[in-house]
C-alpha cells in the first residue's frame, strides 16, 4: 500500500466526485459568523435554495460584538451597522433552523475557540468557515480551511466544496522549547523562515517532537497561523493529547460511537515513509521569544534582536517593503527590540485567547502592575466558557489587580470591527495574528507576540525578554 500523508488521508476520504483533477469534497462541519454569511444566506434565498444539512452548521456572532457591557443584548450594540449584522445572523439562523450561540449565550465566543471547545471540531472532519483562521481546527487532525462567501453559500447549498488537491509541506520542529518559548513563537519563527507566501499552494503538517509535546491549545495557536504562512490548511496528527481533549465535550461522540471513533482517529497520521512535496526543519532550542517589528508577520525577530537594516533585505521588492514598514511603524533600523515602548496591550484573538494563554499571561502579571505609559491593556477571553474558567481560577482578579481590563469574549482588537481599536500612531503588543497596516485601527502599529511576552511588555512598558523577569 502506498504510504499516505495525513492530508492525503483526510482529502481522499471526503472525495464525492473527481473530474479533470478537480474534486468535489464533502464538508462535515460548517462554522458560521456574522460577517461573511449574510450575503450567502441572501444568495440562497434569491435562488430559492435550501440548506443541505442544517446540523452540520454551528453559528456564532464574534467579530462585531462589544466586549463591554452586554446587558441590553443585541439591541444594546451602539454601532447600528454592527447591530444589523448581528441581528441578521440571528434572523438567518432562526429562519433556517441553524444552531447558534447568541451574543449573551454562555457558550458564545470566537468561532475558532468554541468549535473545539464544544467538540464540534473532531479529528478526521473536513471543517470550513468563512474566515481564514479556520486553519486552527487542523490541530485536531482535521482538514480545515477558510473560504470566501461564495463558497459559504456553496457549502450551505450542496454540503460540498470544489477543490484541487494542495501540495504538502511538512514542518518538522524537533527538540525541546526553552522556558518562556511558546507555540506562538514557533509559528512566528516558521513564518520568519519561509515568509508569508512560503506556504502558498500547500497544506502544512506540523510534526516533530516539539509539536508532539504541545498541548491542544498550543497546536491550535500554531495551526491558526498556518494562513499567515500562506497555507490555507495546517494540521497536526492525532495522538493521545488530541483524544484526551475531545473526550466528554458536548458534541463529541458518546458510548459505542466514542470507541469506534477513537479507533478511526488513531489512523489519522502520516504513514511511515509518506512523501511530502517540501520539508522544512527547525530546531526548537534555537527559537527565541519572537516579536514582529513591521507590517507583515514575516517581519519578525527574536526579542534579543534589532529592527533589521536594509542591507539584510533579500531583494529590491523586500527593500521597498521594509522601507514602507519602517515609516509606518515609526521605527529606525537597528533599534533594539527591547527599547521599543508601547501604548496598548491586547491579549486575546483566535490565536491566543484560550485558558492556557490566559494562565500564562496571568502568571507573568501576578503581583505586578502595568507600566504608567500603558494607556490600555485588554484581556479578552476567547469564549464565555473560557472566561468562566478563568474566573474560577481567579485569573480575572490577577489581571484586574495588575491594571488590565477584563472583557467579554469576541474578536475585539484583533481586527477592531467593534469599538476596541488603536488610534493613529499608537503602538500595541498584541497576541493576535496580523500586524498589517491599519489592522487594529487606522494608523495603529501592531507587534505580534505570545501572551507571556504581551503581559511582560505591559508590566515593563516596552518589550522585554520574558525569560529575564
Amino acid at each position: 500500500m502506498v504510504a499516505k500523508t495525513l492530508y492525503d488521508k483526510l482529502f481522499d476520504s471526503h472525495v464525492v466526485h473527481e473530474e479533470n483533477g478537480t474534486a468535489l469534497i464533502y464538508i462535515d462541519r460548517h462554522l458560521v459568523h456574522e460577517v461573511t454569511s449574510p450575503q450567502a444566506f441572501e444568495g440562497l434565498k434569491l435562488a430559492n435554495r435550501k440548506v443541505w444539512r442544517v446540523n452540520s452548521i454551528l453559528a456564532v456572532p464574534d467579530h462585531n460584538v462589544p466586549t463591554t457591557n452586554r446587558s441590553k443584548g443585541v439591541a444594546g450594540i451602539a454601532d447600528p451597522i454592527s447591530r444589523l449584522q448581528v441581528q441578521t445572523l440571528d434572523e438567518n439562523c432562526a429562519e433556517h433552523g441553524v444552531t447558534e450561540f447568541k451574543m449573551n449565550d454562555m457558550r458564545q465566543g470566537i468561532v475558532h475557540v468554541i468549535g473545539p471547545e464544544q467538540g464540534a471540531t473532531l479529528p478526521g472532519m473536513t471543517v470550513v468557515c468563512g474566515d481564514s483562521h479556520t486553519s486552527t481546527h487542523g490541530a485536531f487532525g482535521a482538514l480545515a480551511h477558510g473560504i470566501g462567501t461564495s463558497e459559504v453559500e456553496h457549502v450551505m447549498a450542496t454540503q460540498c466544496l470544489v477543490q484541487k488537491k494542495s501540495k504538502t509541506l511538512q514542518v518538522l520542529v524537533e527538540g525541546q522549547l526553552g522556558n518562556g518559548v511558546t507555540a506562538k513563537d514557533i509559528a512566528l519563527a516558521i513564518i520568519g523562515k519561509i515568509g508569508t507566501a512560503g506556504g502558498n499552494g500547500y497544506a502544512i503538517e506540523f510534526a516533530g517532537s516539539a509539536i508532539r509535546a504541545l498541548s491542544m491549545e498550543g497546536r491550535m495557536t500554531l495551526c491558526n497561523m498556518a494562513i499567515e504562512a500562506g497555507a490555507r490548511a495546517g494540521m497536526v496528527a492525532v495522538d493521545d493529547t488530541t483524544i484526551d481533549y475531545v473526550r466528554g465535550r458536548p458534541f463529541s461522540p458518546k458510548g459505542q460511537d466514542w470507541d469506534k471513533a477513537v479507533e478511526y482517529w488513531k489512523t489519522l497520521h502520516s504513514d511511515e515513509g509518506a512523501k511530502f512535496d517540501t520539508v522544512v526543519t527547525l530546531s526548537a532550542q534555537d527559537i527565541q521569544p519572537q516579536v514582529t517589528w513591521g507590517t507583515s508577520p514575516e517581519m519578525v525577530v527574536g526579542v534579543d534582536g534589532k529592527v533589521p537594516s536594509l542591507d539584510l533585505a533579500k531583494n529590491e521588492v523586500q527593500r521597498s517593503d521594509w522601507e514602507r514598514a519602517y515609516a509606518y511603524m515609526g521605527l529606525t533600523p537597528n533599534t533594539p527590540i527591547d527599547e521599543i515602548n508601547i501604548d496598548k496591550v491586547f491579549i486575546g484573538s483566535c490565536t491566543n485567547s484560550r485558558i492556557e494563554d490566559l494562565r500564562a499571561a496571568a502568571a507573568v502579571a501576578k503581583g505586578k502592575h502595568i507600566a504608567p505609559n500603558i494607556k490600555l491593556a485588554l484581556v479578552v477571553p476567547g469564549s464565555g466558557l473560557v472566561k468562566a474558567q478563568a474566573e474560577l481560577e481567579g485569573l480575572d482578579k490577577i489581571f484586574i489587580d495588575a491594571g488590565f481590563e477584563w472583557r467579554e469574549p469576541g474578536c475585539s482588537m484583533c481586527l477592531a470591527m467593534n469599538a476596541d481599536r488603536l488610534e493613529p500612531g499608537e503602538r500595541c503588543a498584541s497576541t493576535s495574528n496580523r500586524n498589517f497596516e491599519g489592522r487594529q485601527g487606522q494608523g495603529g502599529r501592531t507587534h505580534l507576540v505570545s501572551p507571556e511576552m504581551a503581559a511582560a511588555a505591559a508590566v515593563a512598558g516596552h518589550f522585554v525578554d520574558v525569560r529575564l523577569i
Binding site: S132, Q159, A231, S296, Q442
Partner: protein, 212 residues
Amino acid sequence: MQAFMQLNGLVAPLDRANVDTDAIIPKQFLKSIKRAGFGPNAFDEWRYLDHGEPGMDNSKRPLNRDFVLNQARYQGASVLLTRENFGCGSSREHAPWALEDFGFRVVIASSFADIFFNNCFKNGMLPIVLSAEVVESLFQEVEVDIGYKLNVNLAAQTVTTPTGKVYPFEVDNVRKHNLLNGLDDIGLTMQQQDKIKAFEVKHKQAQPWLFV
C-alpha cells in the same frame, strides 16, 4: 456570475508586494450585509487622507493624490498590475467585490494568496500569474506609456502588450470553462446531487457521530 472572455484594458500599477485584503477593503466596511457598493472604499486607507467609515459621502472626502489609483492617467483602469503574494491575509470576499466594483476585471501578479485567488473566479474576475521578470517589465512599460493597455484573452490564455509581445498564462480548465461561460458553481455541483447523497449515506454508516 458575469462571464469573462476578452478585455483590452487600461493598466494601473500598484507597486507593492504582499498587499493584504485588510488593505484592499478595511474591516469597517465589512459590516455591510450586501455584496455590492464596496468600490468607493477599495484601498480606503491609502486612497483617502481622512478616516473612512460606512455611510460617508466618499465623493467629498480628501484624496491622497500620491496614491497611484488617484492619478488621472489611471482613471478607468480595468487591469491591476501588482507584485507577489497579492491578496494575502483575511479570506474576506469583500476584497474581490471591492476591486470588481472599482472597475477591475483582471489582476496580474507574480503570485497570489490562495483564498483571494479562488474568490476572484467566483466573481467574474481573472487573476493572472506571470513571472516576476515579466511583471517587472510590464511595470516599466506602464510607467513610460500613458494610456498603456493590455489585451487579455482568456480563451487563448494570453496577455498581449501594445507592441505585440504575447505572454501566455496558465489557468485551471474547470475555472476557465466556468468563467468563459459565466457558470454558477452551485448549479454545476447540484448536478452531482445523487453522488453527494450516496456519499453521505456511506459516510454516515462509517462515522455516525458526524451527523448528530
